[in-house]
Symmetry: D2
Subunit: 149 residues, 4 copies
């Protein structure tokens, strides 16, 4: 039986230059007793934006250009459940003129293989007009550290 989604192996820790802790919440669990597929995306944008705020030292929400999310995705390899403690691995797959494509891995604390693998794409736009603009310099500098060969 060849399933379309899990053909790829889960990423390992070495694939991510930076990790951010995330704590599950009681409400993340769904009817089946596991973290719902939706909650993973709240881990992704918390990890990306939290890291950007820390790494740049500025409140990115007040910059003249803000990152709009234009694409996200997730593959789920093994279930999670509250009260699991998690770590989100962050890497940059592509740093374009006005967009940044992040790769993410959700790891249960202490485990070598990711429980889930994500994709998250920001396009920078002028806050008022919502027209694409170059990635702000302060963000580009920070994000270059996440670029992997």
């Amino acid at each position: 039986m060849s399933e379309p989604a899990n053909h790829a192996a889960p990423p390992v820790r070495g694939a991510f230059p930076v990790f951010r802790p995330i704590a599950t919440r009681w409400i993340d669990n769904d009817h089946y007793g596991h973290v719902n597929n939706v909650a993973y995306y709240s881990y992704f944008d918390t990890a990306v934006n939290g890291w950007l705020i820390e790494a740049t030292g500025v409140d990115i929400r007040a910059l003249p250009a803000i990152g709009l999310v234009v694409e996200t995705g997730c593959r789920y390899f093994r279930p999670l459940s509250f009260p699991d403690a998690l770590e989100v691995g962050l890497a940059v797959e592509r740093l374009g003129t006005s967009s940044i494509t992040y790769r993410l891995g959700i790891f249960r604390r202490g485990e070598p293989d990711a429980a889930a693998a994500g994709r998250f794409v920001h396009v920078y736009v002028e806050a008022a007009s919502r027209r694409p603009v170059p990635v702000p310099e302060v963000i580009r500098c920070a994000v270059e550290r996440l670029t992997v060969a």
Copy 2:
């Protein structure tokens, strides 16, 4: 400037055999005043599971085989904001032995083009062992109606 995410045109209504209404919630809006990228995924699994429950006439959560979500994805074409009224278009892209791949479109009520396009993959597993099993017959029958040429 060629952005990686929005190269494809948003899907239109004709691409979906079934539509489900979804109402936005105040809490769906984020810091920037638009529906957060995470909330779209709550629309997806509400639409898929709500439709399955209605179309099969059974509580799918009590079947011996349940659908685990193994992959999801979303491309965002234009912003949404509470109190927008939405419609979720549903189609089946691939009906496998033990998996179903859905395509979804989020439309603002009355608009011809989708504001977002989604992907949602269920793999059916035995509830207790979590081992893959064939898609339950009652679900296969219902879902065949969503298959598009």
Copy 3:
């Protein structure tokens, strides 16, 4: 055994001059298969703010004074579960100089008794300074219709 919380009877439909439909979402269900206690509060502010937007005909978020939530509460009488269709009853218990206290009832569609009873208090503040100001006239007018004897 006298429990502290449910001594009061659930409110009935006659206690509310206005009703708003709310659809449950798959993600609202928690580990025990019922709508989580947190989700009710997303019904409350969706009902209050959605009604205010419709009844005033203005986007209340763009007014010079905005409603900050200073107190909320809920008593839970009977469980709810996706895909229940709900109706939220709205009434105003107290219309003060700068605050509005709402009473809310969550009803499963077609049922006479509320499944939950809520309380929701807005204090109006100047958007920039966050200092209390009188309830905006357009909101006061609308809300007077929700006052019950």
Copy 4:
């Protein structure tokens, strides 16, 4: 101007025998750029249930008696915003035969006064019949440590 909600002073740290860390998430912020009133309740049940699981050493969800939430409430004293790091103070106000009433305080890390004060009532019921039963002994023992004079 006497507002109904904030007449009481916010609780201080000394009122709580136990503290639990909670990290805000990007999605917790709402249209106005602050943590939405709903999100506080996800902090409450995460803190209560997380503490119960740790303090008892058992998965409380698998006990023959489970805690149903029958009442919750919150007063909001000052705004919070992602990426604030928070601490939730926990105390037991009343330990009844079959119910436990918790008092909670949400503190921004390092601040002496609570940003919000909560109330959270569990009634223990037999998992299958949902009929009230005495608080399980393992939980009663743990919770006695949270009782304040």
